[in-house]
Every structure is written in C-alpha cells, then in structure tokens.
Subunit: 391 residues, 2 copies
C-alpha cells in the first residue's frame, strides 16, 4: 500500500489492488473452492460409435495444452485463473497488470508451494513479468495453444494482430437493448437502466438503445426520463430528438441530450452515455444489431414470445436475451463458478468461458487389428456398421 | 477432357477431374443425400440452467456464419462441401483448384438453381475464381468467420500466415505407429503396412514407425520385411540398422534401407518411405510423438489395455488409436457422412470435421424483467438458484 502511494498510483486503483479490503480475500478463496467443486471437465465421452465389431470410436474431452493468459491489475484474478487452468488440466503462463506484480508474485509463490505436494509439476503454472516476454511468447505458436487477453480494447486488438496463436476473448463490448412496442414500459425502463448503469466499465453494459418506431410515444418518454434520472446522457437521432421534444423530455446539466452521429452506434462509451435510435420493428433491430454490435450480448424487451424468438434466433451474438438485462452475461451469473474471459469469437467457446471452454477433445479409436484396406472406399469390401454406443 | 488434354494436364489429374469415371458421379450424389439425412445440427440445446425463477439460460447450437473454403481440383468436393454448409446453416464462399473450374462452375450453377426453389438465398453459396480474390477475402476478418483450406502444406501454411480469420485444417499430417513388445507381430505388421501404404498421399498415412527396444528381435524383422515387400523404403537409426543386419533383413532396388537423419522424423514423405526408430517404452514413444508429430493421428499396437490407455491419454493428437491403422482417421469412416477437412488445431473442432464442427452456439437467456442490480455481486441481495433444467 505504501509503495503504491509512493509511486503515485491513483486511489481507485489502490482500492482495486488491496486484497485485504472487505471480503475480497475470502471471496478469492471461495472462488478457488467453487472451481474445485465443479464436475471434472476431462475424460468425458461426448460421442461414441461402433465403426465395426471390435472397432470403437470415442470422443473424449481433454485439456487444450498451454494457455497464455494476460490480465488486468486485480490480485484475485490470478487465483481464479490458476484454479480454472489446473482443474481443466492445462499449463498456464500468467501475465498480470504490473501494478499488482508483488501480489501476483506472492500468490503464485503460494500456488507453486501448494503444487509441490501434488502430481502436477509446479512449472505448469508460470508467472511472467515483462511486456517483452509477452511479445516473445506471442511468437511461440508451436508451443502455446491459446491466448486469453483480458483488458482494454487496444490490448486485445494488439494481441490479435501480433500472434498466430488462436485468441479467445473480446475487444469491444457493444451491447444493445431493443424495446418492442408491446413491452411493459416499466420493465423496459428498468432493463435499459440496469444494462446501461449497473457497471458502466463492464463489457456487458449496453451502449445502444433501439426502440420500435410505433413505441416512441408510448415508451420513449418513460425510458428516457429513467435514464436521465440515472445520470445517463443520450445521443439521439433526429427522430428521437423530435419525439423527446414533443413529450417535453429534457436533459440536465450532467445528463444531456445531444445529436448522435453514425459512429456513436459503434462506440463503446464505457461511461454514462447511450446512443438511441428508432427502428421499424424486430427485423430492422436484428439488422441494426448484426451490423453495429460486437456480437457480445443483446437484449429484447417484448411481451411476445414469437417476436422474442425471432430476435434470439436472428441476432448473431454470443448472448441473446429476452426481458433481461445485458449485464447477466457473465460466468458467475451463468453458474460457471468463474470465467477466464468472455469470447465474441464465432468458433470454439462463445460468451463467458469457464472450464468447458478450456478443454477440447480427441478421438480415441479402440480396435482389434483393423486395417482400412479391408473396408469399402479403401480397397476392401467390408461395410462400416456405425452404430451408436450408449454412453 | 479434350480441353484438359490440349492444356497438357497430366494424366492422373485428368482422371481425378473426370466426374463421369466409374461411380464417381453417383457417389457424389449419394454424399449429398447422406448429409441431408444426418440429424439437424442447429437449434439443439446443449446446456440449460434456471438462474432464478423465470430466468432460464439455454445454450443453443447455431451456424458459425460465413465460411471460406479453399479446396483442391476434385469436382465432387464442391457438392460435399456445399451440402455440409447448407445443412449447418452457414453461407459459404468456395474456391476450388483451377483445373476443375469448369466442372465447379457447372455444379455451382445447378446449386444456385436448386436454391432458388428454397428459402435459402442463392447468394449463400458463392464460387470465386481467382487467387487475387482469395487474398482480398483473407483480409475480411470482419465478415468471414472461418477459413477451411484443403490442399498442400504450403497452401495451408501460407493461408495461416496471411489472415486474422480463424483457420481450421492441417498443414502436415505426420502420423506414427508405435509397436509395443507385447503386440501380436502379424497384427503389428498389417497395421504398419496399411498405415503407410494404403494411400501414401493421404494426411492420415504413417510417416514414422517406433518400436519398443526390447521388441527389436521379436518384431522388427517381420514388420520390416512386410514393409519392404510392400515397396516401402526405410530410413533407419543406427540401432535399427544394426538390428536389421543381425536379422539378415535387406532392402531391394526399389525398397531401400538407408540411414535416417533427425529431420526424417519430422518429414511428411507422402511416398513409400517411412522413418524407423527404437524407443525404450510407451513413455518415450509418447514423448517422441508429442515432440515430432503434427498432432494428427498416432496409433499404438499392444496387447495391454493399460499400456494402450497410457498412450491414448498421453499422446496430444486429434486421433489416438489402439490396434488400428492411422488411415481410419477420416470423416466417412468415423460415420460423419463426409468431412470438410481434418483439423490439427487444439481449439474448436479437432480431427475430421463434419457438420458439428461447422456450428457453434449462443446463450439464450429468457427472463421476465430481471436486472442484475437486484442480485448479489451487483448491488442486490437476491441469490442465484443455478438449477439444472432437464433438456
């Protein structure tokens, strides 16, 4: 603490660095126990087929291999990530924010000590210190199987551009809420306000609000007032501006109403600001979101299951929500114990990534001397049986 | 055909280009019907959890999005890949080898015609012609979600180096067979010969043979003779060479025995050549394979389930086989109908990639107005229930 104060570290960061604050330390320990108590993600058979008598194919879950996880200056994160890595059977190279380095070093020392009493080689968890080492490691696509960057958009983008190793994570969190005309007005206002204001710096916070055009009179005033009351500035299209004027809704000194530019619908404000536009209906909302959002999490508020299903099946994001805040997009809330990050990639793991996203599978074929030359397609006459094996 | 002959296309390639040869055309059509009859890979719920009353989380399988598939000059492949792409709900951009271009254009014309009678937009399947277009498309990581290159190692490597889009496939197919001392000698010989010779140009053909040191006297002579009889040249370590001499095994004019260099154990010969070495036992075999193979497919021949399990769980390849030829590593043989390629990546899909590898999932959260501010961890007191929902 004193060292941090001497080094002119900002007060909020010092708060974040202080593991003894409140129940942070106990929560960290509980997180490790939670991960330990999750079902074993390894060695599970997810597909089994008898190709022929005495020739059985099993798809078995296994670790990915070596992970490189780059994360922010939050001392408790090293314990969570290490727990996930060990439980999923992966080796992990950890690089945390430099402000937490001494905490990381102390915790990782304890982790190594604890590992010495187990079958896991202590080298399976390694802490590195410098940025230089990171750029060297990003070249090791032969030895490192997955990079998980957590942190600023710039950090993630720069890592994606500088490595051939697959990257799991997200740069932007551009989430939207769409309000359909049959939505309960108060529910819509609560969901929009929660999505925007519960934690503005989070990747699952909403940055855009879309309203059905025919709901502008009925829904916009209440929702806009609720946002302004919560201190949120609105960036609005001319149509929304007109509608607010007609309803007599005005901004305040701190929660202003201003004109939106096109780029505001592709901006992660990370602050009490939201871009607002009208769309004709759910189809246009889907189109708008698919072309503007970052495929993270988008929510619809509607009383109609049919409209909701159209939205959930049409929006190409890792999380698609009906009548719920975008902020639910989170490993802890999803019940995964904890998460290593949230992925907006379209392959491997999407959304909050827990244990399962840190595993892959391999095909184990158990035969009794079979060769393909005996089978059709490779010179022989034997047909494959391809019978499901009950798992 | 005449055009091909005029253009000095090599005879084996002309054979491959000729769709009317044998039952190739009918097999192509059957392949499409096989894919059509596979279970729908979309909209399947693979995880369901009640986060709280009236707040249900579902993980639902969905298409990846837009695929770019680059493949060799085999006219039937366009039909297989298109069938897989349509069945998995993906849009696909196809680029086939230039020698098949006229066949591809004709088949893709028919595909578009067929699509016009369906709800699928005909633009969902697009054929492109030039290499220039490919390099432009490889830059479109915002719009293309997955690249599947099939073809030479150089092609795959060059694509991996030139795109930020995730690449699914394999450059090298460096497969090995390890023979343990308790293996049935004849079974071992048949598996080694089939793995090496059934189709030497295939990625799942064996390139290395490892024998347990204590099995050199008992197993090596029979296996080596079987390989030589099948026309295979051996590249051997001094120890193997000595052992062959003692047993009186000699090469022939076309199937020679020569000294192996270290690099021979990392070479995909794609010809009737195999590198041969001795290892102390299964642990050393695992180490050798994990450090030399391309993580494609590796096989052990042993009578012991315990030794086999050690091998299957220790070798870090997409396919790990016991008492079966490496050549079984194939989508058709695995019962997937057909395959879009074989992946040696450690994330997303591994091994032969069929329909399932062309899908991902999204989390659908169905609520009744919930906001996170009411729950623990985000300002509220409500606890999550996290109860499994029976699927």
């Amino acid at each position: 603490m004193e060292a941090a104060e001497k080094a002119n570290v900002a007060a909020p960061l010092i708060k974040r660095l202080d593991l003894s604050r409140g129940d942070k330390f106990d929560t960290m320990l509980q997180g490790v126990l939670d991960v330990a108590s999750l079902p074993d993600p390894l060695g599970n058979i997810t597909f089994a087929n008898r190709l022929d008598d005495g020739l059985e194919l099993y798809r078995v879950t296994c670790p990915i291999g070596v992970l490189l996880v780059i994360f922010e200056s939050r001392p408790e994160v090293i314990a969570n990530i290490t727990a996930l890595a060990i439980k999923s059977g992966n080796a992990v190279i950890l690089k945390g924010g430099k402000e937490s380095f001494h905490s990381f070093a102390a915790i990782s020392g304890l982790i190594r000590e604890a590992l010495e009493g187990t079958e896991i080689p202590p080298g399976a968890v390694q802490l590195i210190e410098s940025r230089q080492e990171v750029s060297e490691l990003l070249k090791q696509d032969k030895y490192i199987d997955l990079v998980v960057p957590r942190g600023s958009n710039e950090l993630v983008r720069s890592i994606k551009s500088n490595t051939k190793i697959p990257v799991l994570g997200h740069a932007d969190g551009l989430c939207s809420v769409y309000v359909h005309r049959d939505a309960d007005v108060d529910m819509a206002a609560r969901i929009v306000v929660d999505s925007k204001t519960n934690y503005v710096a989070a990747c699952n916070a909403a940055e855009s609000l879309l309203l059905q055009r025919s709901a502008l009179q009925s829904h916009l005033p209440t929702i806009a007032k609720a946002l302004i009351d919560a201190g949120v500035s609105l960036k609005v299209t001319p149509e929304i501006s007109e509608s607010l004027k007609q309803a007599g809704v005005e901004g305040t000194a701190s929660a202003t109403i201003a004109s939106a530019e096109e780029k505001d619908f592709e901006t992660e404000f990370l602050s009490l600001t939201i871009a607002v536009a009208a769309v004709e209906g759910v189809e246009e909302a889907i189109k708008h979101i698919n072309s503007h959002s970052s495929k993270h999490t988008d929510s619809i508020v509607t009383a109609s299951k049919e409209i909701a299903d159209k939205f959930l099946n049409g929006v190409d994001s890792s999380g698609v929500f009906w009548n719920a805040s975008t902020r639910f997009s989170d490993g802890f809330r999803y019940g995964f114990g904890t998460e290593v990050g949230i992925s907006t990639s379209k392959i491997h793991a999407r959304g909050p990534v827990g244990l399962e996203g840190l595993t892959c599978y391999q095909y184990q074929l158990r035969g009794t001397g079979q060769v393909v030359a005996d089978y059709v397609g490779a010179g022989g006459k034997k047909e494959f049986k391809h019978e499901n094996i009950d798992i």
